[in-house]
Amino acid sequence: MKLSDPRTIKWIWAGGLLVLAVILGLDFTVHHHAHFPRDGISIDTLPEFFPFYGFLSCFLMVVVAKALATALQRKDTYYDDQ
């Protein structure tokens, strides 16, 4: 079983997705305490808040990065002629 084998990659993907599903399932079993109970903020007590928040924030950061890239990226030889 070699890592470069496409079948191995498929198994790894399947295993990874299974772990994610288990995490999602377990999240229903626990009661998340609010981090700011005196302020009436309860979004962080919802089930699946953390998986959702992790995915969403990464998605947004990549999108923002790509948007910035259109203005700020140059060839990596940009400074070479100085």
Binding site: L20, H32, H35, F50, V62, L72, Q73, Y79
Partner: protein, 608 residues
């Protein structure tokens, strides 16, 4: 004079001299023995201070008189123990990593650099702090130049210029601050202690706190705070594989230490830290150079620490100090892993790497452990330290809510740092190992690096795991031990573990879902260093130089049009001024002036 009078930093500075002159076999001994000696010296002082008073206040262990100033080069501040310990540990393991390359000057410079950092950590007065600060600048610039490449020499010059500027700001601030206190009759104007007057008034700017502002800005330059974040990504990837390991450890963390002692609780630091945490992720996402990815993630991690320092409660300070300790280890480990790849392949761009898992298993596993630790994965050191900063934030928000103080900033900080934690896993936790060791097969089949580099990596990888599973010894040397000890009981709980797994694993999913958008290209991302690398040089070349040329031309034209004799032959008496003079003439004139001055000052004025 007892052992307590020897600043631990001086031990490393002496070792640096030995390193430069000893033959190869002696250098091994010095590189490994010097950090142990410095650590022992440090702990003698720390134990002395703690024996006298366990609470987290500065204890002056040794006091020197110099030029009428009271210097305190051996002082134990609340966070001194944790920073001194990790600096010595880093020097030793970094030395082990570097030893096999025959670069005596780089190792010597590294000892100077670490010695300077240690001087800062034990500085009880601002003069000692400044001296340590400048020693660090000299040592780190020399490390950069030891790479002996065109890119490193230019980056080193930019690095030096910026840090010299930061040092000048610090010195100006010290002079102004100490001068004002001295004029006000303060007993100890040079004391490096908590500048509490900044806490309430960080938004105010006036003559009374201008000195503190200058000091704060000087420290923030070294911390890589905006708009000075660019130097980290600019300079660090240009050093040698071992040089970058040293560079990643000391400058920013010494700045965190000084901010912790001097400016804990200054709200501005929260804003700056949040910006850095996000900035580091965005720039690392776009980066292709593997060590520049890691350099940007230093900014990100220091951002977490600055938020902790800015919150300024005992738990938050403990968290920032613990995180600095853990960060130095896993960041050095990541830099060692990347350095081993560079050493084995000579390549630094992700686009030219990949598939190295086949032949570099030790480097890969150590890199992965470092990547998990920086992502604060459970059972690693990042988990047991970064979570403390976040708990410090929620705890402070609760306290402020109870007394009815507005605390929206705390709430925002918590949500932003949770997002940033997910982003760390994205940009460093997965991106670095993925693009270097997996992704496509680059066709490269390099072997793992020499044994000393492997040993250094294994030691730090082991520490990442140990601190994650048994954080007790680290918590025991934090600034506020009682808070840390009570936190140790709650750090591992099922609810929090599940939150963390959910946050991190789904950010991992985001990485693979978004992989097409993350494909590496041979690009760099412009930063504020563009101003001094491109904008100002261009303005000078394209605007100012042509104007000066034009003026020069105009002046010559006007002079030629003037009536009179051509220049050259001295005809008029005044023209004699334009001819060459012997040196003796101006010397005589100056001496004459001095004599007249003395006569006027001592004879004429007193009688008048």
């Amino acid at each position: 004079m007892t052992i307590n009078d020897i600043p631990p930093g001086v031990v490393l500075l002496v070792a640096a001299v030995l390193m430069a002159v000893l033959p190869a076999r002696g250098r091994w001994f010095v590189a490994l023995a010097a950090p142990v000696l410095a650590l022992a010296d440090a702990w003698v002082a720390i134990n002395d201070a703690w024996a006298a008073d366990a609470a987290g206040v500065a204890r002056y262990v040794s006091t020197w008189q110099f030029l009428g100033m009271t210097l305190r080069p051996v002082t134990v501040h609340a966070p001194t123990a944790v920073f001194a310990t990790i600096f010595c540990l880093m020097t030793g393991v970094g030395g082990l990593y570097a030893l096999h390359h025959n670069r005596r000057f780089e190792l010597s410079a590294a000892l100077v650099y670490a010695g300077g950092a240690l001087v800062c950590v034990f500085a009880g007065d601002l003069i000692t702090l400044f001296v340590g600060w400048e020693i660090m600048t000299l040592g780190s610039t020399t490390i950069l130049w030891c790479a002996r490449t065109e890119g490193a020499s230019r980056a080193g010059l930019r690095y030096f210029a910026l840090h010299a500027l930061g040092g000048v700001l610090l010195l100006a601030g010290i002079a102004l601050h100490a001068g004002q206190l001295n004029a006000a009759g303060h007993a100890d104007p040079l004391a490096f202690a908590h500048f509490a007057e900044m806490i309430e008034g960080w938004t105010s700017f006036g003559w009374h706190n201008a000195g503190l502002w200058l000091m704060l800005i000087g420290m923030l330059v070294n911390a890589g705070a905006p708009p000075f974040s660019a130097w980290i990504g600019d300079a660090y990837p240009e050093a040698t594989e071992s040089g970058t390991v040293f560079l990643s450890a000391f400058t920013t963390k010494t700045a965190v230490f000084t901010l912790m002692v001097g400016f804990a609780g200054v709200e501005l630091l929260i804003y700056l830290g949040l910006w850095m945490a996000i900035y580091g992720i965005i720039y690392a996402i776009l980066e292709n150079d593997m060590r520049r990815i890691l350099a940007y993630s230093i900014v990100n991690q220091v951002g977490f620490m600055l938020v902790g320092v800015g919150v300024g409660t005992k738990l938050a300070i403990d968290g920032a100090a613990a995180h600095a300790f853990a960060h130095i280890i896993y960041k050095a480990l990541l830099m060692m892993s990347a350095g081993s790849v560079l050493h084995a392949t000579g390549r630094r761009k992700c686009t030219q790497l990949g598939g190295l898992y086949r032949t570099m298993p030790v480097t890969m596993w150590c890199g992965i452990i470092g990547a998990l630790a920086i992502s604060s994965f459970p059972l690693t050191s990042g988990f047991t330290t970064k979570s403390m900063i976040l708990s410090g934030i929620t705890e402070q928000a609760d306290v402020m809510a109870r007394i009815g103080k507005p605390h929206d900033l705390m709430i925002a900080a918590w949500f932003i740092l949770e997002a940033a934690s997910a982003g760390v896993f994205l940009h460093a936790g997965i991106k670095f190992p993925w693009f270097v060791f997996f992704q496509k097969d680059s066709g490269l089949r390099p072997a793992d690096p020499p044994w000393n580099m492997q040993t250094a990596m294994v030691i730090f990888a082991g520490l990442c795991l140990l601190l994650g599973m048994f954080p007790g010894p680290l918590y025991a040397i934090l600034p506020y031990k009682a808070e840390a000890a009570s936190y140790a009981g709650v750090v591992y709980n099922y609810e929090y573990l599940l939150s963390m797994f959910g946050l991190l694993l789904f950010s991992g999913l985001a990485f693979f879902v978004l992989l097409p958008m993350l494909k590496r290209k041979e690009m760099i991302t412009l930063d504020t260093d563009w101003l001094y690398r491109r904008f100002f040089p261009t303005v000078w070349r394209e605007v100012i130089v042509p104007i000066l040329r034009g003026l020069d031309h105009a002046q010559k034209t006007v002079l030629e049009k003037l009536p009179g004799r051509p220049m050259g032959e001295p005809r008029s008496p005044l023209a004699r001024l334009g001819t060459e003079w012997a040196v003796s003439v101006p010397v005589f004139v100056v001496t004459l002036m001095l004599v007249i001055y003395l006569v006027v000052y001592f004879v004429v004025l007193p009688t008048a």
